[in-house]
């Protein structure tokens, strides 16, 4: 593999030589081996090598950025010149900056190379097991990849980080069929450092495949009611995504975030604590360094319902006058509650288990509506049947304030650790 450090250094030197006041050079060498399944059969083995070069120049308060994937000296020189030209073309902004000097550090996680035979064995084992355990279900698409990324992050303040991460990632989409009845598709993804157990035992895959088989026969909900929603771990990121996005650069800089003045104020029910832990043993697929060139640290976004920070980049922080986040989001870890999933269901008079939300982007104020996919009706504390053609609408911000229970059980996907969360206040409507 080529010497990424030399390339990164060459990029930084070129930026400074061409007149940048401040500069950042990031070079990533990415190697991916991916085994693909289509319609239940192995279809493709894919190997890709790439070099990602990202150069940032700040000159006279103006910023320019380029990304390319050629690492020869001429290409690096050209990309650096482009970055300076783009900076010249830009407008000055005091908020443009690069990370300050931090101690140089080398980070490493995961394997160096893939075990292709084991990858094939694990996928073949899954296909075989699905036929036995979930005979109605077809793996429509799946891929298991091993991706190794080696990055060099240098800047003109003296930042010098090297990170290497090798991770296996699995994604699958599936549906079930019985006679003429076809279920909705569902999908899931998870990441792991090693292939040390069958894929079917990872994250919530086995449960989701079983539920898919149940969903060949569904029923629409009758009428319209306001009720409880138990959000599954797989669906939770969609709901929390609204909160995470609302406290990030875009809405915060535009001033459209409903949480723009909510620091240290209650934004959810007190039972909810949300961590963001990119450098934690709980997270197989995290990151060590932010795009801004800061060593990533774990943080708590919401502590017992209170907003403890904003997910702002260096630019976003300077632009809004608020504190920069110590990481760049994702890697969500939600504290478990004290109720079992079974008891959560028993506590619901009327509502649904929301397993997949197929909805429009929520409004800036949190209003949302969409379809409850792969979901179940709950009545009188019991799961009744899988539903179809059922819509759910409400306001995410209000629902986060109306959490009634959080499960003891959690699902670890390698990039998040999520429980089931019950909230009240959604409008659920069927035919």
């Amino acid at each position: 593999m080529e010497n990424g450090r030399v390339t990164a250094k060459r990029g930084l030197e070129a930026l400074l030589r061409l007149g940048a006041d401040k500069a950042q050079s990031v070079v990533s060498l990415v190697e991916k081996h991916e085994m693909n399944v289509d319609a239940g059969e192995f279809s493709l083995l894919r190997t890709t090598f790439d070099t990602q070069v990202r150069l940032t120049a700040i000159k006279g308060g103006k910023r320019g950025q380029t990304a390319a994937n050629q690492s020869d000296p001429e290409s690096i020189e050209r990309a650096a010149a482009d970055a300076l030209n783009i900076a010249e073309a830009s407008q000055p902004d005091d908020a443009y900056d690069i990370a300050e000097r931090q101690p140089a550090e080398v980070f490493k996680a995961g394997s160096d190379s893939p075990d292709l035979d084991k990858m094939h064995m694990r996928v073949a084992e899954l296909l075989k097991e699905v036929k036995v355990r979930h005979p109605k279900t077809v793996i429509r698409q799946a891929f298991l990849d091993f991706t190794k990324t080696r990055s060099f992050i240098l800047n003109s303040n003296g930042v010098d980080f090297e990170t290497t991460a090798g991770v296996y990632r699995f994604f699958t989409m599936f549906s079930s069929q019985e006679g003429d009845n076809v279920s909705s598709f569902n999908y899931t993804a998870f990441s792991m450092r090693e292939l040390d157990k069958p894929l079917l035992e990872c994250a919530g895959l086995d449960r989701l495949l079983r539920e898919s088989g149940e969903q060949v026969k569904t029923y629409p909900i009758k009428g319209k009611f306001v009720g409880h929603v138990i959000v599954t771990p797989e669906c939770l990121e969609d709901i929390l995504g609204f909160l995470a996005y609302s406290v990030s650069d875009g809405p915060m800089i535009a001033g459209t975030s409903i949480y723009k003045d909510s620091l240290n104020k209650e934004v959810t029910s007190p039972s909810l604590t949300i961590h963001c832990r990119p450098v934690s043993d709980e997270i197989a697929d995290g990151y060590f360094v932010t795009a801004d060139g800061y060593k990533a640290e774990n943080m708590t976004l919401v502590d017992k319902g209170v907003l403890k920070g904003y997910m702002l980049s260096l630019y976003g922080a300077k632009k809004t006058g608020k504190e920069r986040a110590v990481n760049q989001g994702g890697a969500w870890v939600i504290e478990p509650g004290d109720t079992s999933f079974e008891d959560m269901v028993k506590g619901v008079d009327r509502g649904i288990i929301l397993a997949r939300f197929s909805g429009g982007n929520p409004s800036a104020n949190g209003d949302f509506s969409g379809i409850a996919k792969n979901s179940y009706l709950i009545e009188n504390g019991k799961i009744q049947y899988p539903i179809s053609e059922s819509m759910i609408s409400g306001n995410f911000a209000e629902m986060l304030m109306n959490i009634t229970a959080i499960s003891k059980e959690r699902v670890s996907s390698g990039f998040s650790v999520m429980p089931w969360i019950a909230m009240y206040g959604a409008t659920i409507s069927g035919k």
């Binding site: 289509d38 493709l44 083995l45 482009d82 429509r140 549906s175 909705s184 535009a254 509506s369």
Partner: protein, 459 residues
């Protein structure tokens, strides 16, 4: 694009092989409330090879276009195909072969604007919005250009060189209403390099005025009344319906995976008023937003007629799926980046115009909605779909009423298409769509307005 002659590598092909050199060049400029929040260019390219061995595929790619790298990529792809074949032993036969030679470089002949001039273009639009609409609480302008250039050589003799550009400007305006933000976005531009897509900032001022007027009405808008309603879906929604809800179910790989369209072939799938086509490059005599002349397997792209007068007539195919179904490939195999393998993807999917007038369609609805602009959309193997709606109006007694807040519509697409009773006589294309199916890829969506029955979310 870097100069590379792929033909000199044809001697290395030992099995069916596609060799593709590709560059995707982008420009992105983002202005938020007058500040240039992002200003960047990317230039991502390289070489890929895909090799077929008795039903198993091997793929490899590298950013390096040197002779050694290209040789290594062909070798690695061949080894990957052999690895899978040695374990799977599918024993499938040869792929259909339809060699074609083609060159389609849709470059502008006008002088190119510099990055500085593009930033000025954005700033001029921003200044215009600031002056013309001072009561906005926020405004965002996003300029995006993508040039996708590909050179393809296949072992069965196809050679193609294409440059397909797209340039768009997306504007989002926000107002505060009772302390809460209400926003609306609109998109301009489409096929062509920037200089061909836009003459001057003033090109879009008319559209921005309409956009602002809709936003003001939306800020006073009401929640839709949740339930099943008769609605007129304007062209943008009809287009996303054609793409998401019907189109995906008729991609042959999804049919093989069990989509609901499988048993519907040659059966009634829609109202006889509905004809739905995935156009390759030209529709009704006009070049489509994402013209595809030769796909990434070297097949000449043909229009795929999916529904004709209500009857499901066919699917979209790659070479492999066409062989499976015993039909001709349609040229739908497309890859986004140099490092992506071709997948069956839509190109320009549209319902064809009918004979009704939009005004008559609205006048014919007693109690329903006129829905104009979608945000995102998803659909299922069952053809159950969901689209976000960011702009729409009530229809009461045949007349447009109050605007509605953001909502969602849903239904089962094949049932919805059976409920179509009127189709307008005009046609509009949406030119900024990106479709996600493992890889993102630009697509065109279009259509007339349709009157149908659909579930709408609300309160």
């Amino acid at each position: 694009m870097r100069n590379v002659d792929l033909r000199e590598f044809s001697g290395l092909f030992k099995a069916y092989t596609e060799l593709r050199a590709q560059e995707n060049r982008t420009v992105s400029i983002l202005a938020v409330k007058g500040s240039i929040a992002s200003n960047s260019r990317t230039d991502i390219g390289g070489i890929s090879a895909r090799v077929y061995k008795d039903g198993s595929w091997g793929f490899a790619s590298s950013p390096d276009l040197s002779r050694e790298a290209i040789t290594s990529v062909i070798k690695a792809a061949s080894e990957n195909a052999a690895f899978l074949d040695s374990r799977e032993k599918k024993g499938k036969g040869a792929l259909p072969s339809t060699p074609v030679t083609s060159e389609n470089l849709l470059k502008t002949t006008k002088p190119r604007l510099s990055q500085k001039e593009l930033v000025e273009f954005v700033r001029e639009i921003d200044n215009h919005i600031l002056k013309a609409y001072p009561n906005l609480s926020s405004r965002t302008i996003s300029l995006n250009c993508l040039d996708m250039e590909k050179i393809l050589l296949t072992s069965d003799g196809s050679y193609s060189h294409s440059l397909i550009p797209r340039s768009t400007i997306r504007v989002t305006m926000t107002v505060e209403k009772d302390g809460k933000p209400v926003d609306l976005s609109s998109v301009y531009g489409g096929l062509g390099q920037f200089e061909d897509a836009f003459e001057s900032p003033g090109d879009i001022y008319g559209g921005l005025q309409t956009h602002f007027e809709h936003l003001m009405k939306k800020s006073e808008g009401v929640f839709a009344d949740a339930g099943v309603k008769t609605c007129v879906l304007d062209a943008e929604l009809a287009g996303i319906l054609a793409h998401e809800a019907i189109g995906h179910t008729t991609e042959a790989d999804l049919v093989l995976g069990g989509s609901v369209a499988g048993p519907l072939l040659n059966k009634e799938a829609a109202s006889p008023l509905v004809t739905l086509v995935d156009f390759a490059n030209t529709a009704l005599g006009v070049t489509c937003p994402v013209p595809v002349y030769v796909d990434d397997e070297g097949t000449r792209a043909e229009d795929a007629v999916l529904i004709e007068k209500g009857i499901l007539k066919g699917y979209m195919h790659s070479k492999e799926s066409a062989a499976h179904f015993g039909v001709a490939p349609t040229g739908n195999a497309r890859a986004f980046q140099f490092s992506d393998e071709p997948l069956i993807r839509m190109r320009n999917t549209a319902i064809l115009p009918g004979t009704s007038k939009l005004a008559d369609m609205i006048a014919s609805v007693d109690d329903g909605y006129y829905l104009i602009r979608p945000s995102n959309g998803q659909a299922d193997s069952t053809s159950e779909f969901m689209f976000g709606v960011t702009l729409g109006y009530e229809i009461k007694n045949g007349k447009l009423g109050r605007a509605i807040r953001d909502t969602t519509i849903s239904g089962v697409a094949f049932e919805l298409l059976k409920s179509v009773t009127m189709v307008s006589d005009d046609m509009k294309w949406t030119c900024a769509g990106m479709c996600g199916k493992k890889q993102a890829i630009p697509v065109g969506m279009g259509g007339p307005a349709i009157k149908c029955v659909v579930s709408i979310g609300g309160r």
